[in-house]
Symmetry: C2
Subunit: 235 residues, 2 copies
Amino acid sequence: MKNLIIASTSTVHGSGYLDYIFEELTVLFKDAQTILFIPYARPSGISHNDYTQKAKKALSKIGKKAVGIHTFKNPVQAIKDAQAIFTGGGNTFVLVNQLYKNNLITALKETVTSGTPYLGTSAGSNICGLSLKTTNDMPIVCPPSFNTLGLVPFNINPHYLDPDTNSKHMGETRETRIKEFHNYNTPPVIGLREGSWLHVIGNSIILKGDLKARIFEHNKIPYEVNSGTQLNHIK
Amino acid sequence: MKNLIIASTSTVHGSGYLDYIFEELTVLFKDAQTILFIPYARPSGISHNDYTQKAKKALSKIGKKAVGIHTFKNPVQAIKDAQAIFTGGGNTFVLVNQLYKNNLITALKETVTSGTPYLGTSAGSNICGLSLKTTNDMPIVCPPSFNTLGLVPFNINPHYLDPDTNSKHMGETRETRIKEFHNYNTPPVIGLREGSWLHVIGNSIILKGDLKARIFEHNKIPYEVNSGTQLNHIK
């Protein structure tokens, strides 16, 4: 039975890495001593080792060990053998490219679908959707495909930002970008504000955290849902 | 001899479409009665016809006609025959995908290199660089390649935004994103603020407009250049 936390961000303003979500992680990772960390998204270009150190330090606060997937000779086997998996944020294109390069897309999808607990933050959440087409990241590398894990039947937009009505900047708002997405794609998009996450258990998908989420469905006016809402009908 | 204006934006806050740059366009388009408009980037998903109408209306203010490339049976020939070309902004992935689909990359590169005056705004400027890898846009479609026209020997980041030091949002700043680009790519990136443009004539590349631009070179600290600076040494 699937058991995932798909979080908008690793860090909310003013607190430490993963701090806001430790309570949930204690439950998610209750049967795991060691978490397999996937550092491929490399935020700000930091190394796999440095990024894993950061995750290690944070997860030690709830008594868990973390080990980087890059330290395994056979990363496919590392995923299959994992007690739990955490994919950190950074650049989604870099992450997806590396997952394809190491032939991990199928292994990750199958392992998480069959019940290995999974935490994704930011880019690590984007990949839980159908494609990376609603990432906010810069396309700094070209992955072989935009298709991702499809662990939920829609796309994620993490770090969802409401339009800044005071802005004089002429770039598109997030809502405009997602509207453009729906000119070429039909899957729904869930805009997850920082501090929000989806908890997926089996067929249940519940919005958690203090904030509402914004739902974009093809040919519908976008709408808000409250924390606690069951979202498994969105597909 | 190349003759291009590569503009950060079509529109600066508080004025109409292309208004701020009409004086330059009068000179750029002095020998052209009719401008071939490439509406492929479809901002907010508007149709090719509607977008062309918008360009038509604006260019009529300086006595020019505009005609959409989508109205030609043979778009490659339309580019070769054009008196001048304008590629509007919108989504860079959609634009590049359509250029590849219609087999226009080579024709556009050759035609502009051989002297047909060219105006690009936003996405239409991104494609003048080496690749789309420094676009700000959402990857809502997957083009066959990220490589673009290479009319200048670097990449463009249009709508360049300085970090907002008051922001509580945890997404990456533009500078962080470009720094990540340089972990995987060596070409320089020119961050063009709204209201800035590059004027390329032959081998000369001069920054124009009221604002400075920010230059990002591989393994160097980013730096500012003033309007009027010759940038042809950046490669």
